[in-house]
Symmetry: C2
Subunit: 182 residues, 2 copies
């Protein structure tokens, strides 16, 4: 259950409204913990009720009215505690690997196109990450906390490289296969 902690992190970096958070989840934070606006609004409600965050007094409560939140001390310590908490890595659940395995049984028809499409998507994502890296983390200018963020970004970068490599390999294997497999 990490969504609340993702939100706390985002709000600590900068107090925001729900929609603003949603946008930021479409960019930086969401690169490793995605969430829809629905999840975010619901969770903001819960966090407020739990007194981990509060709405800035300036924003009076009314539907359709912008409402900005900030993290309370209780929220910060909750997050600090969570950082060191133990949680097993989630087992992989990837549809593409599954498709590949299924293809070994019922034939590969249509799979190559999908692999190529993903390859393209991952290349774009990689390009975007590398762009961010260039802009946010110029060589040897990292302050202590920036270096942690940089490591996270490099994780994203290397993950994309992994996919590009695997997809390329998989496509090669598909082509090398007998023309009409089943």
């Amino acid at each position: 259950m990490s969504l609340p902690h993702a939100i706390l992190t985002a709000l600590l970096e900068k107090p925001s409204s729900g929609l603003e958070l949603t946008r930021r989840f479409d960019r930086s934070i969401g690169y490793f913990w995605s969430a829809t606006h629905q999840q975010i609004y619901r969770e903001l409600g819960k966090l407020e009720e739990a007194r981990l965050i509060r709405a800035l007094p300036s924003s009076q409560p009314a539907r359709g009215r912008r409402k900005e939140y900030e993290v309370l001390p209780a929220g910060r310590s909750e997050l600090a505690g969570w950082v060191g908490r133990t949680e097993d890595p989630k087992p992989i659940r990837d549809a593409l690997l599954l498709r590949m395995r299924a293809a070994a049984v019922v034939g590969t028809e249509g799979l190559d196109a999908e692999l190529r499409r993903h390859l393209d998507l991952h290349r774009r994502q990689l390009a975007e990450y590398e762009d961010i890296e260039k802009r946010h983390f110029p060589p040897e200018r990292d302050a202590a906390e920036d270096r942690l963020r940089h490591v996270v970004l490099r994780g994203g970068i290397e993950l994309e490289r992994f996919w590009i490599g695997w997809l390329t390999e998989a496509l090669g294997e598909l082509e090398r296969l007998p023309p009409a497999p089943r």
Copy 2:
């Protein structure tokens, strides 16, 4: 929605009962599409109702009584169609990357231990994969369909290597950090 297709694949490879499937999901198939016995039983029920699979006649229906399933032709074509279907890659949602990012804001306390623990887990998993590779895919003996399965396994292997690399890098960064970050 890939669980039904994971089950169809598994059943095509070998007709099985619910528990047997569960065990196989703890090993091979589950390495890239995990599922609990609950999900599996529920899904078997749905698939049977949809006439994509059927219980083998030998196994009479009774609670606590072993019930073996096989895939019907309709199931096989459903799976074949699914293989080439289009589906965007799911955005990453990884708690460890998130923790790292949170650590940049509230401090890294306890994070290093968790990273080391994961590093160990990933090393074990890698060793297991490499063992499977050695046993199931000896060099230059791959038949056509084995090669696809082999590519899938190599995906798992390289993914583990990615994590090991990243965790090592991240740990290095943590150590290099000022001793009392906040």
